[in-house]
């Protein structure tokens, strides 16, 4: 696996974030849920990496594992290594961890409606991070918070800073969340479905804002989404996840030009689009991937996608496919990748 990484085109500089063989499990009553199974990823400074997959594939759990936000009572990282700028995040003391969170790595969450404390004014919430990590006085932090609210394009930031969250719309609250994430100029922002709860026009504004901030501040972004459209718009590189592991990894261009994993192909075929239908005039139904995400309550033998895969062979059911890497850095975990390549674009 390490050999594969050395072949990637950016191997000249070391990655800022490197996750190796991450296994995260949840414990519910007597059941063990294998949420993340051997996930690896690399993220270089200034890069936007998209992490896609359907609900329950382990995208968010991977993100939460990186910042160690999974409560001990619920689940834990049982195996693997998470290195950020050379430091092993899994070995940090609570105090060290608190100084990494928000200052070096910040996080934007999915639910803007509930991600702000209802009893604190939004300005004070943005200021909190600044007071924590930069030791600013309350007044200085508040002044800086107003600048940040302006940066995320909130109109009349001085007045909005004095409002309570319930007076703000979903889009506004997500902007406040982004302002909080940006406050200490982190080198990495993890955005967990930042636009899922927002309507389409607001979604576009937020994505544009994040892309601008990525260019301006050079902060790397780990963008978690189930929306391939968001990935196409934002990401430099994409990792497709399925059942707690990466199945395909490529630059956005390569991924959309020649998806090598049947799951990725299935996802792309499932995007509704105007005037595109397979099999000519009659077949207008939207493509779907048959079957369901496998249960994660026990380890899966063979390829996790085999049962839903139209191209699966006997080998797929018995042996988990090894990750193979093309010369252009396009990585895929599928026995039948060569066949997929010959099939061309899914639509």
């Amino acid at each position: 696996m390490d050999a594969m990484i050395e072949q990637t085109p950016r191997a000249q500089t070391p990655p800022m974030l490197s996750v190796r063989g991450l296994h995260t499990r949840f414990y519910k009553d007597d059941a063990v849920i294998h949420a993340v199974n051997g996930m690896s990823l690399d993220l270089w400074p200034g890069e936007v990496l998209g992490l896609v997959g359907e609900s329950g594939c382990g995208k968010s759990v991977t993100a939460l594992s990186i910042l160690r936000l999974i409560p001990r009572a619920v689940g834990r990282v049982v195996e693997g290594e998470i290195r950020f700028e050379g430091r092993d995040l899994l070995a940090l003391t609570p105090r060290e961890l608190a100084s990494v969170r928000g200052r070096d790595i910040s996080m934007i969450f999915q639910e803007p409606m509930t991600s702000l404390n209802p009893v604190l004014r939004v300005g004070d919430q943005v200021a909190e991070t600044l007071q924590l990590h930069q030791g600013l006085s309350r007044r200085a932090a508040l002044a800086r918070a107003i600048e940040l609210l302006d940066l995320v394009r909130i109109a009349d930031p001085a007045r909005q800073a004095r409002e309570y969250p319930h007076r703000l719309s979903g889009g506004m609250r997500q902007r406040v969340m982004i302002a909080m994430a940006l406050a200490c100029e982190p080198r990495l922002m993890i955005a967990d479905e930042p636009t899922t709860a927002l309507d389409v026009t607001v979604q576009a504004q937020i994505l544009e804002l994040m892309a601008d901030l990525n260019r301006q501040t050079g902060a790397a972004i780990l963008m978690i989404t189930h929306d391939l459209g968001v990935v196409a718009e934002m990401a430099d590189r994409v990792i497709v996840m399925y059942a707690g592991n990466a199945v395909e990894e490529a630059t956005v261009h390569d991924l959309f030009a020649s998806p090598l994993h049947p799951y990725t192909r299935g996802l792309m075929a499932a995007i509704p689009r105007r005037g595109a239908w397979r099999g000519g005039a009659g077949a207008q139904t939207l493509q779907e991937i048959p079957g369901m995400v496998p249960s994660l309550r026990s380890p899966i033998a063979g390829c996790a996608f085999a049962r839903r895969c139209a191209y699966a062979t006997a080998r797929c059911h018995e042996h988990a496919p090894a990750r193979q890497v093309r010369p252009n850095g396009h990585a895929v975990a599928c026995w039948e990748a060569d066949r997929m390549e010959q099939l061309g674009k899914p639509i």
Partner: protein, 290 residues
């Protein structure tokens, strides 16, 4: 109804003398107003009345009249003076028990919600405390030390604490999973600040509501304790001991029981109305009128 409310919400805010959270809440306004009047009477009672302990044999069992508004008891003591001054003990006990149990309950409940090991131990202790009836505890304490208002407050507070701790703990456990708490942890906020800034302020409103109910039940318990003689000493008039001493003459002088009884009922009613009103306005899920 709903149409007018919605229109009122859209229309520019009308200026009224009432703060917005009080509008349309008769229970809250009524309870608060009644309670304010009762508290004012209790505070002012030494100046409104004569000596509640003064015995006047001429007035024995005198019915209410122009100069003895509430009548007199079997010793000729002025029921008006005794009832008004009795409010002081009831309200003092009610408020002190509510504040004490809320403060201790908040502290212990938040810690239990955060530290699982502590939680396991403290919760068993709370179960044990809950098994003690406040009346029996008060009787036990009065036999050990000399009775007084402070003792009554302690005796009533101790069995109330577990209820408050349980409430706060469950609220804290819910709040800990809230996205804004996780977001604050992700922003690098350390645990003590998480508790103080993000958990406690959000746990306060259910606590205030609970405290009003504790207050009402403490007032009743105090009256019960004083009635059986385990409460405040007899030289301090309390609604419980006024009723107790007039009990044997109830057939011929019912006013001696009637007036303190009304005082007790009105006070508990006012506190409960306030509690219900606060619950409705502080907890948006309980009653959002559309």
């Amino acid at each position: 109804m709903s149409a007018t409310t919605n229109l009122a919400a859209i229309a520019p805010m009308r200026r009224t003398w009432m703060p917005r959270f009080l509008r349309g809440r008769p229970a809250l306004v009524g309870g608060a107003a009644l309670l304010i009047v009762l508290v004012a009477i209790a505070i002012a009672s030494p100046w409104l009345t004569g000596n509640p302990q003064a015995i006047s044999p001429l007035n024995r069992l005198r019915p209410p009249s122009a100069d003895l508004w509430f009548g007199a008891d079997q010793l000729g003591r002025d029921i008006y003076a005794r009832t008004l001054q009795g409010a002081r003990v009831s309200l003092l006990v009610g408020v002190c028990v509510a504040l004490l149990s809320a403060a201790i309950g908040l502290l212990v409940g938040v810690l239990c919600g955060f530290y699982r090991r502590l939680d396991a131990v403290v919760m068993r202790l709370m179960d044990a405390l809950m098994a003690i009836p406040s009346i029996l505890l008060a009787i036990a304490l009065t036999t050990l030390v000399r009775g007084g208002v402070l003792l009554v407050i302690v005796a009533i507070t101790v069995p109330e604490i577990p209820r408050v701790v349980r409430l706060v703990r469950s609220v804290v456990l819910t709040l800990r999973g809230q996205p804004y708490v996780i977001a604050a942890i992700a922003a690098g906020t350390r645990q003590p600040l998480i508790m103080l800034r993000h958990i406690v302020p959000n746990a306060v409103s259910p606590l205030i509501v609970q405290a009003t109910y504790v207050c009402a039940s403490a007032i009743l318990t105090e009256a019960g304790l004083s009635f059986i003689g385990a409460g405040v000493p007899p030289e301090v008039p309390s609604w419980g001991n006024i009723i107790a001493s007039a009990r044997s003459y109830f057939q011929i002088a019912p006013w001696a029981i009637f007036f303190p009884g009304v005082g007790l009922a009105l006070t508990v009613l006012a506190v409960n109305l306030l509690g219900d009103g606060l619950r409705d306005s502080l907890d948006p899920r309980a009653s959002r009128r559309l």
